[in-house]
């Protein structure tokens, strides 16, 4: 995790690829150029995050969005100074990466279980490594159900991978938008409505969700209504953290820090927070 024994120094890298993911959202592929950085960040596990530096603007934390291929991938929504600066970068431009940070999805512990993925908007990005892991080790997991959502069709991420997901063995893929547009012919409605319609089998299943806090809250409630127990529900939370190592104070929820106690939490942990994430 540390460069020169200094966890605040990013590893140097360059932008190896950029593509549009949705309106205002791009996927960045980063190649680390320092061997120490390649070795350290190469150990990351699905659910962990890293800070990406746009030199001159600063750095911001992003969930690592892929376990496949030679590059680190990050989905970045142009919202603030750092993310707008990242969006203006071109292939070959230098960037920095600090990480991997935080805990991860317990994918080894839930082998053999049915997996239900519920991704909302760019919140789907940190779930993509989970989908990839299940698909790449298909025999290790049971039935895979993917529920993918966005506020509108233009905000759906990884649309070019929908076909792969839908065609994968023992996998079902559902997508919905809160509001459709002229061309949208798919499901319209909140992800919780879609979840009730799909009504995935609960026995031996684990549900993993990420999205806006209000969505996570209601997805948990709906899952519980369908029979999921607190030990069968996982999420990953976010905050505008600055250090990622439990020092800067920004991401505390009560005595917990999203950066070091999370970002991945079971629902029963979330339920016990003195201070809620909502």
């Amino acid at each position: 995790m540390t460069a020169d024994n200094n966890p605040m120094r990013p590893y140097l890298g360059r932008l190896a690829g950029v593509r549009d993911l949705a309106t205002g959202i791009k996927l960045f592929q980063v190649e680390l150029t320092e061997p120490e950085g390649q070795a350290t960040i190469g150990t990351y596990r699905p659910g962990q995050f890293a800070f990406v530096s746009a030199f001159g603007a600063g750095e911001a934390p992003f969930g690592i969005a892929s376990v496949r291929g030679p590059y680190l991938e990050f989905a970045v929504n142009a919202i603030g100074h750092v993310t707008h600066t990242l969006h203006a970068l071109e292939v070959g431009d230098p960037v920095g990466v600090r990480g991997p940070l935080g805990n991860w999805f317990p994918l080894d512990e839930i082998k053999g279980r049915d997996i239900v993925i519920l991704g909302g908007g760019i919140g789907g990005a940190p779930l993509r490594p989970v989908i990839q892991t299940v698909l790449d080790r298909r025999a290790d997991y049971g039935h895979l159900t993917i529920l993918w959502a966005a506020r509108s069709p233009d905000l759906l991420v990884f649309t070019d991978e929908f076909d792969e997901w839908a065609a994968a063995p023992d996998t079902e893929f559902h997508v919905t938008v809160d509001r459709g547009d002229d061309r949208w012919q798919g499901h319209v409605g909140l992800i919780t409505k879609l979840l009730e319609e799909v009504d995935p089998a609960t026995q031996n299943a684990v549900a993993i969700t990420c999205g806006p806090p209000i969505m996570i809250h209601f997805v948990f409630l709906t899952l519980q209504k369908l029979g999921f127990t607190p030990q069968q529900m996982l999420t990953t939370l976010e905050a505008r953290m600055h250090c990622g190592i439990g020092k800067c104070g920004r991401c505390n929820m009560g005595e917990k820090f999203i950066c070091i106690d999370g970002p991945v939490f079971w629902q029963y942990e979330v339920a016990e927070f003195l201070e809620g994430f909502l």
Binding site: M1, T2, D4, N5, N6, P7, M8, R9, P10, L12, R14, S53, F55, G56, A57, G58, E59, N77, I79, G80, T83, G92, D93, P94, G96, G121, P212, P213, I214, E238, A239, R240, H242, C243, I245, G246, K247, C248, G249, R250, N252, M253, G254, E255, L274, E275, G276, F277, L278
Partner: protein, 334 residues
């Protein structure tokens, strides 16, 4: 007791100022502040509580962590770790106690903060006992006191004609090795520690008052001005950002800086999607006091308050940590 005359102390300080970064209480336009000094003539020897703690000399309010040079697509990074020795002279015991509180997180929790550790290592703390407790002071509520030497390297106490010198640590002994000390009979008189005691209830008991009306009552008049965190010797939240210091074709020089942050600011918990999990002032005031009395001691050990009283006298709307301590104690016992 070991004793040094004021004249000899001043001469020693004059020499010291040539060798180290010397910080001491100084009059700055009528305000008493710990500030860099070039000679003993600039130092105040009679003063109450400096208006700001000395936190900024160990954990600077703006600190360059990395100097980054970008030549076309080549980036070089250089850590900024000053090596020059620093002495903080005339430090009040509460401010030294504040460093120990921050140590519990920045030094003792893995991974240690390299920058804070460097400042701590290069700095020797020479304390000056308060002869009495000042307006708003309540250090005795935290097991300390106006002449508590325990967080310092050397402690001075004013006696007639000079100062009694207590060497507390080896680091302190090394620093005062060339200070002309005399043996004198007797001991310096203890400070007048007659400040009121305020009740400190356990972190577990604090959890009982999370949803109490206390937070609305005290928090709704908060202005989110953040002065309480600015003057606090233990508040350690920080933000990171880059500033461009030079830009010309093919070359950009950047500093990655760390600046103090404040959990009482309006958008502290605003995330990328716009969600703010602490949208109201009572939410944020509650977090500040829970950090000090519940979260910080649970997570890292020490309480997050040393009783310096600066937030008490600085708050423009009189939010008083001592009143909150009393209210919490009443709420948990009643």
């Amino acid at each position: 007791m070991k004793y040094v005359t004021l004249d000899n102390l001043k001469k020693w300080l004059d020499d010291l100022a040539q060798e180290v970064d010397l910080v001491a209480p100084r009059d700055v336009d009528g305000h008493v502040l710990y500030r860099p000094v070039a000679s003993s003539a600039e130092i105040l020897f009679e003063y109450q509580r400096p208006e700001l703690s000395a936190k900024e000399f160990i954990f600077p309010d703006t600190e360059v962590l990395l100097r980054i040079e970008k030549r076309r697509n080549e980036v070089k990074q250089e850590e900024v770790l000053p090596e020059r020795k620093q002495v903080i002279f005339g430090l009040r015991p509460c401010d030294a106690h504040g460093f120990e509180v921050i140590d519990a997180l920045f030094l003792e929790q893995e991974p240690p903060d390299k920058y804070y550790a460097n400042h701590r290592q290069r700095t020797t703390l020479v304390g000056m006992a308060c002869p009495q407790m000042w307006e708003g002071c309540f250090c005795t509520s935290f097991g300390s006191g106006p002449d508590d030497p325990s967080h310092l390297d050397v402690m001075l106490r004013e006696v007639e004609g000079g100062y009694a010198v207590e060497v507390v640590t080896e680091k302190g002994a090394a620093l005062v090795a060339d200070l002309p000390l005399e043996e004198r009979p007797g001991e310096p008189p203890p400070a007048v520690a007659d400040g009121e005691q305020y009740p400190v209830v356990s972190p577990k008991q604090w959890r009982e008052v999370f949803n109490d009306q206390i937070w609305m009552r005290h928090g709704e008049r908060c202005l989110s001005c953040r002065i309480c965190t600015y003057v606090c010797p233990t508040c350690r939240c920080f933000d990171l950002t880059d500033r461009v210091v030079e830009e010309r074709p093919g070359l950009v020089r950047i500093e990655r800086i760390r600046v103090w942050d404040a959990c009482t600011s309006t958008n502290y918990r605003r995330a990328a999607g716009g969600h703010n999990s602490r949208p109201t002032k009572p939410d944020r005031i509650r977090n500040r006091f829970f950090c000090k009395f519940c979260y910080y001691p649970e997570d890292f050990g020490p309480l997050g308050c040393v009783g310096c009283g600066r937030c008490v006298v600085s708050c423009p709307v009189d939010i008083d940590i001592r009143e909150i301590m009393v209210d919490v104690a009443q709420a948990v016992s009643g």
